[in-house]
């Protein structure tokens, strides 16, 4: 009896969990295999039609060495990390409380303010970047990476505010109300009851904000001129196209180095969801 149930369970899991999960992984992560294969090939082998392109015949680290030795890749990485980290922290500090207010509190003009915050998000960067250069020049930040530190929150904050507003809505108001009955102020209830429960939301909003700044292209290209102050996406594209050629090897090496380390960092965060919730008495 038990054996049959177990087998049925295994089959069920194989069919409804592992198969779709496998397919999803293939679609989402498969291209990274191709990036790795390309990055590890020699230039000659990349176009070699005589062998299967799916594996590496003569593995070589040349393209990675090229990135480190011939470009400012290390500097670009440090720049990108600094800008993304500062953008994430400031947008969380500003956006989380604002999201709480939008989701939970009644005050005059709330709807107008909420809409206005989001409208700024609707106008594409390609329209804003030229006047933004002038704004940065007026506050003395043109042609400096500090401009990005200041500008990135302008698109991260609306994003975090809105995402957090919706997370706060998933948390039952009863918990907060019982805290208020126990004598907590509104701010105290937010801090001691709501924020711990919203931890998965805050973590994912942080992860997304970090990644949005990590990827940003137009401001990073136009607000900064010096090659020593570039970020990874701009640096790699701007330095690795020459004439009318694709430099697949270094490009793919840059794509890998520009993503896998961040994924490793996220590795330590993604399961914080569960632990954060267990601490709050709810299991994930």
């Amino acid at each position: 009896m038990i054996a049959i149930t177990n087998r049925r369970r295994t089959l069920e899991r194989a069919f409804f969990l592992y198969l779709p999960l496998g397919l999803a992984l293939f679609f989402l992560v498969g291209p990274f295999y191709w990036m790795a294969v390309t990055a590890l090939k020699t230039d000659g082998d990349i176009y070699d039609g005589a062998h299967s392109p799916l594996y590496v015949l003569h593995p070589s680290l040349d393209h990675f060495v090229y990135l480190f030795a011939k470009t400012n890749f290390v500097t670009w990485t440090l720049n990108t990390m600094a800008v993304a980290a500062s953008g994430t922290i400031s947008s969380l500090v500003l956006g989380v409380p604002a999201g709480y207010a939008l989701a939970r509190l009644r005050f005059p003009g709330v709807e107008l303010i909420g809409t206005a915050i989001f409208v700024t998000y609707l106008v594409p960067t390609s329209l804003l970047f030229i006047p933004m250069i002038q704004v940065m020049a007026n506050i003395g930040l043109d042609d400096s990476i500090w401009a990005l530190v200041v500008v990135y929150p302008t698109f991260l904050v609306p994003f975090v505010t809105w995402l957090m507003a919706s997370y706060f809505r998933t948390i039952p108001t009863e918990l907060e109300e019982s805290g208020r009955i126990d004598g907590l102020t509104r701010l105290g209830a937010m801090w001691h009851i709501v924020l711990p429960l919203a931890r998965p939301g805050i973590l994912s909003a942080g992860i997304f904000a970090f990644t949005l700044s990590w990827n940003e292209f137009i401001y990073a290209l136009t607000l900064v001129t010096a090659s020593s102050e570039r970020t990874i996406p701009v640096g790699v594209i701007v330095q690795l196209s020459r004439g009318d050629f694709y430099f697949w090897g270094p490009l793919m090496a840059g794509a890998l180095l520009g993503s896998v380390p961040v994924a490793l960092v996220y590795y330590f965060f993604v399961d914080q969801y569960a632990s954060g919730l267990t601490a709050g008495g709810v299991k994930g």
Binding site: P31, T38, A101, L105, I117, Y121, V123, L163, S166, P233
Partner: protein, 294 residues
């Protein structure tokens, strides 16, 4: 005394949103109004131009390329967002289960979202590229299609290809957001539903879905906005070709404003996205606040 004032709902609300409003008013208000105003002028990159009212909007509406781009943008957005919703929601439910290496898998599926768009798009270009496509190599080797498929060459398939790349890139965001929402659902609710004899589907429909709905809707709205104004994927893969089959408003606006230098008209093209997106946002805000008002 101070704490009493701060405890007032109105004061606290205003206090909490004030920094955000100040930041946006200080930095974005000016560029935003410059951009909106320029849509009403025949401004170029080099000349400030004169006020022409809705002239740009009339002109672009007359242009077959604009109409085609608008149509493409809608197809691209609806197609990508639908796929992202299905994949993202499904993936979130899967990732919420317990299985070995779950943490690793959760981090790995974020990769397409992490890799800089320009570089991720280059990887897909390299997979789709005519004459050297690795996908076509696999199709030929497995005997599925001897000649492979014209991924970026055929107008319809090219649209499909850019949708696939956008879906690849955006699914992790949806999946992880919804996963974070799922984690907040108290297990007691499921237990209660189980006691009531609800099946899996029933529990999904009546417990899971309503509770993740706010998160799901917000991520959908965000995803829709990004997709609607997505520039990098189309620009990287096709530059709007072949024959404008994948031209979207973002790429058309960019070409008009920066390659041809008609910044006024380029701004007008971008702003025609607003009437489509604005109602979506207002509706969304009302939903998020419904519990407060009720």
């Amino acid at each position: 005394m101070l704490s009493r004032i701060v405890d007032n709902e109105r004061t606290l609300g205003l206090l909490l949103v004030a920094p955000v409003v100040l930041l946006l008013a200080g930095l974005v208000a000016y560029p935003l109004s410059v951009a909106v105003y320029s849509a009403l002028t025949d401004q170029t990159l080099a000349e400030s131009g004169r006020f022409i009212g809705f002239g740009n909007f009339v002109n672009v509406w007359d242009d077959q390329i604009y109409r085609q781009s608008l149509r493409n943008t809608l197809v691209f957005t609806v197609g990508s967002v639908t796929l992202k919703l299905c994949f993202g929601l499904g993936l979130a439910l899967l990732l919420n289960e317990a299985f070995p290496f779950r943490r690793l898998v959760r981090a790995a599926i974020l990769l397409p979202w992490i890799v800089p768009t320009v570089l991720g798009t280059m990887a897909w270009l390299w997979m789709f590229t005519p004459n050297f496509s690795v996908i076509n190599y696999v199709l030929a080797q497995t005997g599925i299609s001897k000649t492979g498929l014209p991924w970026l060459t055929d107008p319809d398939l090219a649209m499909f290809s850019v949708i696939i790349v956008n879906t690849w890139r955006g699914t992790p965001f949806l999946a992880i957001s919804v996963l974070a929402g799922l984690q907040a659902i108290p297990l007691e609710l499921y237990d209660a539903a189980a006691i009531d004899g609800a099946g899996k589907l029933h529990r999904f429909r009546y417990v899971t879905l309503p509770l993740v709905m706010p998160v799901l809707l917000t991520t959908l709205v965000l995803s829709t906005i990004w997709t609607f104004s997505d520039f990098g994927i189309v620009y990287g893969l096709t530059k709007g070709g072949p024959m404008n089959a994948t031209h979207v408003l973002a790429t058309l606006s960019y070409g008009t404003a920066l390659s041809a230098g008609n910044t006024g008209e380029g701004a007008a093209i971008s702003l025609t996205m607003l009437p489509i997106l604005l109602p979506l946002i207002i509706w969304q805000l009302r939903r998020v606040r419904r519990s407060v008002v009720a």
